[in-house]
Point group: D2
Chain length 143, copies 4
């Protein structure tokens, strides 16, 4: 089993430096685990995420999944600031609880140009996923 | 041509009442146009949306597209607080400028259970779209 | 663990009767395994599937994934002839070999109206998937 | 308005030579129109396409949309045998009639690495689409 290209501490330092608009203490994000081809990120609960019917907003789940995919790509190929999402597809499966969200990403392909992965989003402590995401990142050519 | 079920003023009142966590003066959203089967919404520029490389964050575009789709559904079938997104697919096409975003939604199907639509997202004043979204809403059974 | 609503033999009889345009001896499909919430189907190799560059055609993989999802839905909720696909999203990951394809489906949600699942498509005997599919079926109301 | 890189006759010759497993007289496909960034293809009706409930099979529509996207890419960038689909997302909107299908493709982006487009699929003579597709092709580096 291959080692990750960056560990949690290296990822946090990179993201605070390059991506602080999203990865900052106010946003309640914690990188819980990284490995070659995967990552798990926790989104702390915030009442601002709640929507009619007591659910968590879809964009909160989309943003978390997109970020977790980015963390998994960095953990696998190392620091690439300008990797960008080209496609994201999300299926909303169940109403999330008013608690933390956990996103678990697994990369399905890491090519020279494209990385493709899937992300399961769960309400903390629940077994069944609240959303499932597949996503593609475009990887800039290394100079 | 069928009239919309709600006009812009009625939509604003409904959304302020039912959806104020997202539709509020701080968020910079303006419903510019609604019709039966469509809507156009503007997202005012906010420096918080900017990401590495000078782009606007993907989740900003996803949230705008999802909201515009919801507005188009409401404009077509009337006030349905608990319609929920079941699927959203986004292709990111070009780097957005640091200016307002415009989302233009067109519904492709309005069934009894599901509404399907597409949304073009543009940087204000530019011709070519920055993102394209297709999305499905589940419509609760009317009692 | 819940038992499947139909076993392989019952599924074959149902599909030969209701779906013989696709499920017939010429098509080379074998239902290898079913369970509550899942199914595995093999598509026998056919030189007609080959495309430029020695790959298997995308539509062959899409048709197999769609069928495997249908088998998983039937295995879970029983014989429902008119369940229909509403959405299918496929990511092509690697060039398939010129050999059988295996599709492994897992349902992520089985609701009253919608079933959502994912399907991994592999070249027989290889470890890494050639395609990944997510799909939604609409389930007709039972009378 | 830019001229297409290949006209209908040139496309037919190229496809008969490079892609005859799919583009051949038995398959009932007609390229009706091409332009820079778009194409329209007709799929002649075949009773083999029919499925339970009198509908046309989903894979028939997926294969047609994928092919029409390929034609539009070729019409725009010229003969590239090894361009491959990386993602395809389809929403099935209405039950198709038992008649020809028409696919109308419009490219949304033609980059150096990726082309993204959307395809509307209609039953011949009907106004409302039976399916909507978005698709991404990966374009090989030119040597």
């Amino acid at each position: 089993m291959q080692a990750p290209a960056m560990n949690v501490k290296q990822l946090e330092e990179f993201l605070v430096r390059e991506f602080s608009q999203f990865f900052n203490p106010q946003n309640g994000l914690t990188i819980e685990d990284v490995r070659h081809s995967g990552a798990r990120v926790r989104q702390g609960y915030n009442p601002l995420f709640v929507r009619p019917g007591g659910t968590i907003s879809g964009p909160t789940m989309m943003a978390l999944a997109d970020f977790t995919m980015y963390v998994a790509v960095l953990a696998t190929i190392g620091p690439v600031p300008l990797a960008v999402t080209t496609n994201l597809n999300i299926n909303f499966l169940r109403k999330p609880e008013q608690r933390d969200l956990i996103a678990e990403c697994r990369l399905l392909k890491i090519g020279k140009r494209l990385a493709v992965g899937e992300v399961m989003v769960l309400s903390d402590g629940m077994d069944e996923p609240v959303a499932h995401v597949t996503s593609t990142y475009s990887i800039p050519r290394q100079s």
